[in-house]
């Protein structure tokens, strides 16, 4: 018997939430705090030919302006650190950061932005990942538009022999599925408050979902050891993966380091929606070999992920997708090729169930289409193929504590579906 585990105990911080006492980062006000606004690229692709911030710097009420030149450390961040905090030259998506202004209030900062002289040589962008994969496509990235894994331009998963599996199959069922670009849309927009604290260290109040993950990136950007940054967070007004990437802390931190005054940088909802990281869109091409008895004997999937202008978590998401895109099913022959493509759009990164939700959305439709094609009940095909303990997944992991059959039985019961006895008799403990 447990006393607390398994009990419906209300939130530890619930009283704070219902009284409005929970302090979110935008609720922090410091004496003399300045507000930051950022000049964002108005074009999807181009080269900065001229940038002059002097008129903005001279404006009354402006405390400082920063650009790529003001990054003391590495002007790059991300899981694969390839995105600049401020782009020094190349613009790869609309909304890319160019310069930041700190002023007495946001209105003044907005006016100062208008005084920045910016000349961009616009270039032809590419938005369609299939077009971007063509040899003559405009280059989003100097190294090429397709991410290179340790297996080459595709993430390869090979289990068994898929072509042999197709030969054994009674049916071949193919399907192509796509997902759209999604915004995380947490109700709390991205925001950061930064200042130099009493120990002369940089303090940052953050909405980060991953304090230590981001602390490392910030340490590299600021060229400061980790103990010279006090990174304060822990309470977030919704994340859903939006706050797995830094959107404000680097800018606020750089500004505080330069002007040595407290600053707040918050995104408007428009900026948040249009220019932050996204759940990138996918295309899935499935080809399945199925026996008359419903067993899936071969599954071949090609996945194409549009990761936008920077890698973000794109390659990681393609990897993660590849592990499970074949579904929770015992399939002896699996062939997966995952492709991660750059386009001139905001970087795609993590969002709730990154890679998995997209794969599931396609794979489960394919399952139902297989059921239809072979004339089998969609419950039955799932029960027949569902993982049992000891089954092997696409990347050769062993399934432990399988529970799909148990979940399906209960769902059928709650939905008022009377399953045949032979399905009810099944268990994840064995075949």
């Amino acid at each position: 018997m447990t006393e607390y585990v398994g009990k419906p105990i209300p939130r530890y911080d619930g009283i704070g939430h219902v009284t409005g006492r929970t302090t979110f980062v935008d609720d922090i006000h410091l004496p003399g705090m300045l507000y930051i606004k950022v000049l964002l690229s108005p074009v999807h692709k181009g080269i900065i030919r001229h940038l002059d911030v002097s008129a903005a710097e001279r404006m009354p009420g402006v405390a400082g302006v920063i650009t790529a030149k003001d990054v003391p450390g590495k002007n790059a961040y991300g899981l694969i650190p390839d995105q600049p905090v401020f782009t020094p030259e190349h613009i790869r998506y609309k909304g890319e950061r160019i310069a930041a202004v700190a002023a007495v209030d946001e209105d003044t900062a907005m006016e100062a932005l208008e005084k920045i002289k910016l000349e961009i040589e616009e270039q032809t962008p590419v938005f369609d990942p299939f077009e971007a994969m063509q040899p003559d496509a405009p280059l989003v990235r100097p190294e090429g538009n397709v991410w290179v894994f340790n297996s080459g331009t595709t993430r390869k998963i090979r289990l068994g022999d898929v072509e042999e599996g197709f030969k054994q199959a009674d049916y071949i069922i193919e399907g192509t599925y796509t997902n759209s670009t999604n915004d995380h849309a947490p109700m709390e927009p991205q925001v950061s408050v930064a200042y130099i604290d009493e120990t002369d260290r940089l303090a940052i109040h953050t909405v980060s979902q991953d304090l230590y993950f981001h602390l490392g990136m910030l340490s590299a950007i600021f060229n400061l050891p980790m103990n010279k940054i006090r990174y304060i967070g822990g309470t977030v007004g919704g994340g859903f993966g939006a706050k797995n990437d830094i959107h404000c802390d680097h800018v606020a931190g750089l500004m505080a380091l330069k002007i040595r005054k407290p600053v707040k940088y918050r995104l408007t909802r428009h900026e948040e929606m249009l220019y932050t990281t996204k759940r990138g869109p996918w295309t899935f091409e499935f080809k399945d070999g199925v026996k008359k008895d419903g067993r899936i004997v071969a599954r071949k999937v090609r996945t194409i992920h549009d990761t936008g202008a920077y890698s973000g978590m794109g390659p990681y998401v393609v990897d993660k997708n590849a592990i499970l895109v074949a579904g929770p099913f015992a399939i002896p022959n699996i062939w997966i090729d995952g492709i991660c493509v750059y386009t001139n759009k905001p970087p795609a990164s993590s969002m709730r169930g990154f890679g998995i939700i997209n794969g599931t959305s396609a794979e489960q439709l394919q399952m139902n289409r297989i059921a239809e094609a072979i004339g089998m009940d969609p419950w039955e095909i799932r029960f027949i193929n569902a993982w049992r303990d000891g089954d092997i997944g696409a990347t050769q992991f062993t399934v432990v504590a399988a529970g799909l059959i148990e979940a399906m039985k209960r769902a059928a019961e709650l939905a008022g579906v009377e399953l045949p006895e032979r399905l009810k008799a099944m268990s994840s403990r064995g075949r």
Binding site: D107, M110, T268, H270
Partner: protein, 283 residues
């Protein structure tokens, strides 16, 4: 944000005097629900804000057989007022479906019209109810039929010194219906909305009004479609032809909410359904 001055007069005379004085510099604010996003996002930097919420324009009454509504009457009152429900059910329904509870508290009928969004929810019911708008200025009053009020997206016949103060609806025969298609079940802008009023004698249509929202640069009265059914005995096929004609009069665009193709499809369905409901011919 520059220097902005603010007035909240309590008399219409004072309001129009300020309008005459500051003219184009004035931004009139009633509920503010359409205006404030523009100010908050720096798309509008008003020099003079004229708040008309204290002019006593929040009323719904009957006068000379007309239903008379003050321009600053909030949408929530249109949605719950028994007189509106009885005399202008399409307007009440449009009010109920507009925005969210918190928006309806402040959004006003006058603001919805003066803002002149092609998708304005209250415009189509007022078009089919032959609403008349009372505009005032230091030069005097004038009445404008709602059909003549809208000029283009965000544009009306209001002169810089004029104020919309009242909407009046003549006593109308027939049944009015409002249907809206948004993109979710609450708090949604119209992809297309339709208002219809039919005066029936048995199966024969004596008079008809049909209006479409979000289907043209302005809320659109579909007069060709109306004349197609006036005097006719209505049946399903005539209703379908009338709906097609109404949509043929429109000119919807592709935008973030829908394509022109979809708006035409959905608009045709909505007009047909509204006509059937107004004619008590629902299957």
């Amino acid at each position: 944000m520059g220097e902005c001055i603010y007035f909240a007069p309590t008399e219409i005379g004072e309001a129009v005097r300020l309008l005459a004085e500051y003219r184009e510099k004035v931004t009139v604010v009633a509920g503010g629900t359409d205006l404030l996003p523009k100010i908050n996002y720096y798309q509008l930097k008003p020099e003079v804000l004229l708040h008309i919420g204290r002019l006593g324009l929040d009323y719904i009454k009957e006068a000379d057989g007309k239903l008379v509504i003050g321009a600053a009457t909030p949408t929530s009152k249109l949605a719950s007022n028994p007189l509106v429900a009885e005399r202008a059910s399409a307007l009440a329904e449009a009010a109920r479906q507009s925005g969210s509870a918190a928006i309806r508290t402040t959004a006003t009928i006058g603001g919805n019209l003066a803002n002149a969004s092609p998708a304005a929810d209250l415009a189509t019911p007022l078009l089919i109810l032959d609403a008349e708008l009372l505009l005032t200025s230091t030069r005097g009053n004038r009445k404008v039929a709602i059909n003549d009020f809208f000029v283009g997206p965000g544009k009306t016949v209001l002169e810089p010194d004029e104020l919309l103060i009242e909407v009046s609806l003549p006593h109308q025969k027939g049944k009015s219906v409002f249907l809206k298609l948004g993109r979710r079940k609450a708090m949604t802008l119209s992809v297309v909305n339709v208002a219809v009023r039919l005066e029936m004698e048995g199966a024969q249509c004596k008079d008809a009004r049909i209006a479409l929202g979000a289907m043209a640069p302005v809320p659109l009265r579909c007069t060709r479609a109306e004349s197609l059914i006036k005097g006719q005995v209505l049946d399903k096929s005539l209703i379908d032809r009338c709906a097609a004609e109404a949509v043929a009069e429109s000119s919807p665009i592709d935008d973030q909410r829908a394509t022109s193709w979809y708006r035409k499809k959905a608009g045709t369905v909505l007009v047909a359904r509204a006509l059937a409901r107004a004619a008590d011919m629902e299957g």
